[in-house]
């Protein structure tokens, strides 16, 4: 392997590891904020215990999200210096805005939330978790606008040997980035909802604190159902945007080789990239791909053969990740529907099979998130900025092989160790259940405010 291949691998490893923690942060911060708001509104201590219990799990997860995020900002310069030089005029702006607008707000108000239980009134305390949650969402907006620009570059001209921004508004309202933001936000909320439902189900199976976890489960179920539906709807619009702006990625997602009109969707399909065709195509829904791509049954879909082989993305990982993501998403909709139905009709706790499925489902939305990003990033190849710059042209020129081997090994060891510790702590505190001793928070001084 050379510096390019290792740098790509390192970016993939560090980015995917970072992205284990991001979606739960997005989802659980909102849920915690909601629970604490209910506490402020109703004065019901159970909601306070909820905010504290789920908030603690949120913090354990959040810590790793923060520290692994720094790596991402550094790596653009460390490993992708040519890229940074070429597009920094545009790409640097959303990153700097993310830090200024979102990271400060997030870190400052998380600090206030963690250490401020007895320092501020309960309304201000609830406000602090809202501000932190909104900030994590804002952070997602700016980083996805940056990524959206790499997918669908807008608002720039090629000048002075680089891409220069000429229309900030176009970059900030890039439909590709905004749809990705919506799709990502909703799928982050899905991770949070299934996490809450899964952990609650684990306790319900053990008849542990049934009231507390039934109520938590119900909040997770409603939030989760809204989130998965939003993920699917926004994902559909996102796919239309992909079909329009990145035809080679779309063709790889559906493994379509020939350009045709009114393309059907084969439920059973196995791509054969070497022969440039599909070895199995069965159970066809007529015109479905055309409908998904352009919302019109007879729309023409560009096949992969339209593009020279060196400009096609790797078909297998793009295709299978897309299928798995959609398949998992379908499962989430069914599971969330059932969860809402059972928790409102009553009797979730008497349904051990369903509860077990929900416990085992905790990792699945994480996987769906990772698959989605494989589609997005592998499907963009060989481009680093779609149609503008190839990945192979973006890597730093000054690096030698040893440097990148050492850094990749270092990241793997350090991240591996931290990942184990984090999962250990999450499991430990998730199993422990809520803390009933609220004396440290419910000091008289705080009640009057």
């Amino acid at each position: 392997m050379d510096v390019l291949a290792l740098s790509r691998l390192q970016f993939a490893v560090t980015c995917m590891f970072h992205f284990i923690f991001v979606p739960l942060t997005l989802g659980l911060s909102m849920l915690t904020a909601y629970m604490e708001t209910r506490y402020v509104m109703t004065d019901d201590d159970t909601y306070l215990k909820m905010a504290k219990f789920w908030g603690k799990l949120f913090l354990i997860n959040f810590a790793l999200g923060v520290v692994t995020g720094i790596t991402m900002e550094f790596q653009f310069g460390m490993n992708w210096a040519e890229y940074s030089k070429y597009v920094g005029d545009i790409f640097g702006a959303p990153l700097a805005i993310e830090a200024t607008v979102a990271f400060f707000m997030e870190s400052v108000f998380i600090g206030l939330w963690i250490f401020g239980w007895n320092k501020v009134s309960k309304k201000v305390h609830a406000l602090s978790i809202w501000l932190a949650a909104i900030a994590t969402n804002l952070s997602a907006l700016w980083i996805l606008l940056a990524n959206g620009w790499m997918q669908n570059p807008v608002g720039f001209v090629l000048r002075n040997g680089r891409a220069e921004m000429v229309d900030f508004l176009a970059v900030a309202t890039n439909p590709y980035g905004l749809l990705k933001f919506g799709h990502q936000l909703a799928s982050g909320y899905t991770v949070g909802a299934f996490f809450v439902m899964g952990v609650s189900a684990w306790h319900l199976l053990r008849k542990n604190r049934t009231d507390f976890f039934l109520r938590s489960f119900r909040i997770g179920a409603v939030f989760g159902l809204m989130a998965v539906i939003a993920t699917a709807v926004l994902g559909d619009f996102h796919a239309v945007e992909v079909a329009k702006t990145q035809p080679s990625k779309f063709a790889a997602m559906e493994s379509i080789w020939e350009t045709k009109k009114g393309v059907g969707l084969n439920l059973l399909l196995i791509p054969d990239p070497i022969k440039e065709c599909n070895s199995i195509e069965q159970l066809c829904i007529p015109k479905m791909v055309s409908i998904l791509a352009f919302h019109t049954p007879d729309a023409e879909i560009k096949g992969l053969k339209e593009f020279p082989p060196e400009l096609r993305p790797p078909v297998q990982p793009t295709f299978w990740s897309f299928r798995l993501m959609v398949g998992l998403g379908t499962f989430f909709i069914l599971a969330a529907l059932l969860a809402v139905f059972l928790s409102y009709r009553g009797g979730v706790e008497a349904n051990p099979l369903f509860l077990k499925i929900m416990v085992l489902s905790i990792p699945l939305p994480y996987l769906a998130n990772q698959f989605g990003w494989v589609v997005a990033e592998v499907g963009r190849q060989p481009w680093l900025v779609y149609g503008i710059m190839k990945t192979s042209d973006g890597v730093s020129k000054s690096l030698d092989l040893v440097q990148v081997v050492v850094s990749l090994l270092g990241f793997t060891c350090l991240y591996g160790a931290l990942g184990v510790i984090d999962i250990y702590l999450l499991a430990k505190y998730a199993r422990k259940g809520p803390d009933d001793d609220l004396s440290a928070i419910l000091k008289p001084a705080r009640q009057e405010a």
Binding site: E73, F74, S107, V108, F115
Partner: protein, 342 residues
Amino acid sequence: MLFQIIWFILWGVLWSVYFMLDGFVLGAGLLHYVLGKSEGEKRVLINTIGPVWDGNEVWLLTAGGATFAAFPTTYALMFSYLYSALLLLLFALIIRGVSYEFRGKGEGEGWKKGWDAAIFIGNFVPALLFGVAFGNIFAGLPMDGAGYHGSLVSLLNPYGLLTGILFVLLFAVHGSLYVSVKSRGDLSARAAAMALKLWPALLVVAAIFLGYTKFATKLYDNYFGSPVLLVVPVLAVAALLCIRLFAGEGALLRAFTASCLTIVLVVGTGVVGLFPNLIPSSIDPAFSLTIFNSSSSLYTLKIMTVVAFIFVPIVIAYKIWVYRIFREPVTVEQVLEDKQAY
């Protein structure tokens, strides 16, 4: 031209504020064992910086992001040339960040001891490396049209190491004073004494640094060109002397304020000397990265200026508000009693 200069100033301000704020976290952390004699005291140290360290570290991300947005070529070359050093810095900052969150969440002596070591390493290594990095930036990097001719080892030259030691001592004094202000009783007294004990060493290293800078760098050229600029290093020295003066009188908050100013002005001294370079070339000035040959387009600089002038004041306002909420010192009794404490 105007906007490049605005961003050069903002660049300097962001780094100065970062070192001023994270400086006391780094300082308290590298003195973790020295100041935190007991478990209770170690937890006081963690709880004094717990609410603020993350927000302070964001100034680093903002300084990095601003370099990227305003001077992309400098960002790209600085980060790729200093690859191995930045990697070490990154690992240290990662370890530091999780150690504050995780230390109180496990059981057993081994767990706590492990994270204590992480707190020490995670703060000492960045303090030293930032100094080494800035020493090398002041002196210039060996770069020309063919690229970079240095290595991790070549960064550890005498001037780089001297600047590293200077940063470690600056932050150690700064961190001691922060702890002395933010704690009570024995810990506060020992922290103040530590600042007084370290101060003469800081003074000596600072004096050597100012002298050595004449030979190792071209930073003084700007000062000889326009002597009015000398006000920055003169004030830096004055602030440094004020630390001793106030700390000696037991006016700890004032001493801490003086050490805040010292750090800002020391970084300012270097940045003013660099202008208009961001990273000089030690081989040939023609290959220096300046604010003119490495900046973004005028349009991008203008957009970023608008963003900075709207949001930075807002950030500063809520940061001050939150610092005020946590202004009370933390005591050993409190952390032992309070289940919310870390």
